[in-house]
Structure formats: C-alpha cells, structure tokens
Symmetry: C2
Subunit: 197 residues, 2 copies
DNA sequence: TCCCGAAATTATCTTTTGTTAACGTTGCAA
DNA sequence: TTGCAACGTTAACAAAAGATAATTTCGGGA
C-alpha cells in the first residue's frame, strides 16, 4: 500500500485532491507481480496497460527484421510504464515489455482510466503529469542521440544512473545506446585506459 | 482564419465542442508571422509558447559544446510546435526555434492555456491530443535510433517525407539523423551507385 | 547577367563501429 | 560438484563515420 500513498501524495501535490477522495481511482487499480524474465506485455497484444512500478526494472524492446532485439527504454521503481502503441496509436503492441528482475506494479487499464476521468476530472492533472514526464524523457534521449557520441551517452548514463547500469546486463545498455555489445565493451576498455593515465 | 477552422474541426472531432463554443480559447490566440531564418524562440528564453503551424517549417536546434549545431526536430504546417524546456521543465529554453521558410503561426501562451482549461475543461482533450502526438513522434524517432542505421533512417525519411527533405538543406537533415553532412553526402552517393546496378 | 557566399561533394586520413568467431567467466541447475 | 549456457571480452577484418580541407555546385542579390 506504500505505492498508493506515493501516488496519493503525487496527486495531492499536482491538483490538491485529498487522499480520502482518491477512492474512485484506486478502486480500479490492480496490483501485479512479475517474476524475473516474465513478459508483462507481449508483441501483438492489444491491452492498454498503464502501470506504476513499485519495485524492479522493466525493459521495452522490439525484434528487428534480422531477428535481433533492440531495447527502446528501461523503466524502474517510481516510474510509469505504458504500452504506448496500444494507448496512443490504438495498434497492437510492436514492443515487448519484460521484467528484468522480480517486479511489483500497480496497474490500471487506460480505457478504464479514461472513463474515470470523465466523471472525475479532478484526476486529470495526473494524466498530464504522466504524459509530460514521458515526453520530457523521450526528448532528452532524442537530444542525446543528435548531440552526443555513443561513448558520451554511456558516460552520461553512468554518471546519472550508475545504479541502473549495474543492475542491467550490458547488452541491453548497449542496445539502448544504439550500438552493439562488442562496441560497448570497447568503449569501456577505452575509458579504463584513459582513466589510468 | 483557415487555421482556426482546422483547429475547431479537430477540437470538435476530439471532444464534440461546437465551433461556436470555442470563443474563449481562440480569443487568446495570436497570429504570428516569421521571415525566413527568423528566430521564433531564442536560447535562454522563458516564454512558454505553443503554436500551430499554418505555413512553413520550423527547426529546433541546440548549440553543442564544440559550437556545432544539432537539429533535434523539424516541424511543418499542420503540426504543433512548443518550447518544451519552458513548458515541461519550466527552464529557460536550451533550444533555438528558427523558421527555415516564411512561417505563419497561431500562437498561445501555455500559462494562459492552463488558465483557460481551468474554467473550460471541455478543451482538455486538445491538450491531451497534442501531448500524445508529440510523444508518439518522439518515441518513433527514438525507435529509429535503436533499430536502424543512419542510411536506413535516411531512406525511411525519404520515403515518408520526401517533400520535407526537398525543402530542407541537407546539413539539417544530416544533423537530425545524428550524422555529419559529409556522411550524409556519402550515403546519398552509395544509394545512387546501388540504384544504378 | 555576373558574382559572391553558402551548401554539397569529394578526397585523404583517422577513429569508431559492425561482423564474426574464439575465448574466458560466471551463475544456475541438474 | 559438475556442466552448461549466457554474458562479456578480445581479436581480426570490413564497413562506416568523423575531421579537415579542397573543390564544385547552386541560388540569390547587386
């Protein structure tokens, strides 16, 4: 229930809705547990899931034409995760969302959320906050692709999310940086050599 | 006034608000004209501008540490443009928004929009639509960076936005693809040679 | 029409990345 | 405890991109 408290506080900070008045919203949420390596959303799935991550890391990835995986993003505790293809584009998900560790979520169906928002517009700032946060993060990652080299992106990831990098296999980090695991290994070596000088 | 009609139709489709009831919203919008190469938003600016592009192309870019420009995105007629640093993060804009051609906009201040939404929540779907569209586009670009090579990104851009590529100098296209103009020129040459075979 | 300056191309060289395969390392399961 | 499979590293080579500079092309203004 710690998660609900966190979200109640967020909602209060955003819009002044008192925790006591959040019943209609949280009644429609479902706690979900995932084992390590369990898929949360599969390719082709149509469910419009939105969830707050209480614990663990989820990786969103797609399968390229050549069969390789490409990791789009990682989400961890304190963040929201959403099947953007189904929610935004109303298309079957082209992405797979899979737990890297045991994961605990608080989940709501986006369609249900929309219904609740029709009768409870006071929760609307939560949706806005969620969308803006996702957008800000996407734009920041996009910015890093046009302004930085793979090595610079990796250095920044290390300095900003050292804990995350340590919890996630390198091959997923590499893919998220837009390079191969072999290249990331070489970058790490170059950094180590430079660091010794 | 064609732009207002377009937006009124969009708002009606999204939420059923009749064009006659959009007065409070459009009263607060301002038409803006920009000359080719004129800056719309400068670096460090704090104005929270949101605009619908009626005509022309706007380029959002930042100046890298080494002094080079990096183009983050291009927006053209029929799209929204927004100073995301100021609107989302409430920070001075790290980006410059500049007209590539003569541009006509319909502009509103985001703070003013928020006030209007407080008393006219029926316009709320417009904000949502705008945010989701921006998010979908960002995620799509992000996806292309982790799944495709520069050449593949350029090919896709050509097939999806041939008109745009023809209206924008190559050096800005290159920067948006995350490569140098020299590299883009080589990609074009490789494509031409392959195409001849 | 001519001329200038910006943009694009080309050339040369260096650096980085991709590809493929081999080699250690490690953690988990039988 | 052993064995295996996945992961990371390394190696060797090919392909692509970066940096810099020279050259050509092109478009707009005088």
């Amino acid at each position: 229930m710690k998660t609900i408290n966190t979200l109640q506080k967020l909602l209060f900070d955003l819009s002044g809705v008192l925790p006591a008045d959040t019943g209609p919203l949280f009644e429609m949420t479902t706690p979900v547990s995932l084992e390590a390596n369990e898929a949360y959303i599969r390719e082709g799935e149509n469910s419009r899931r939105l969830a707050f991550i209480e614990q663990g890391i989820i990786r969103a990835y797609t399968i390229k034409e050549n069969g390789d995986e490409a990791t789009l993003l990682l989400r961890w505790e304190g963040q929201f995760i959403a099947s953007h293809d189904t929610i935004i584009n109303r298309q079957p998900s082209r992405f797979i969302y899979r737990a890297l560790e045991p994961v605990k979520l608080l989940q709501i169906d986006y369609g249900v959320l929309e219904e609740i928002l029709k009768t409870h517009p006071e929760y609307e700032p939560l949706r806005n906050f969620f969308l803006m946060k996702m957008l800000a993060e996407s734009l920041k990652m996009l910015e890093s692709f046009v302004t930085q080299s793979p090595e610079e992106r990796y250095r920044e990831l290390l300095s900003e999310r050292f804990d995350l990098v340590n919890r996630v296999p390198d091959k997923y980090i590499a893919s998220m940086l837009g390079i191969t695991p072999v290249s990331l290994s070489r970058i790490r070596k170059r950094m180590y050599i430079k660091g010794k000088k």
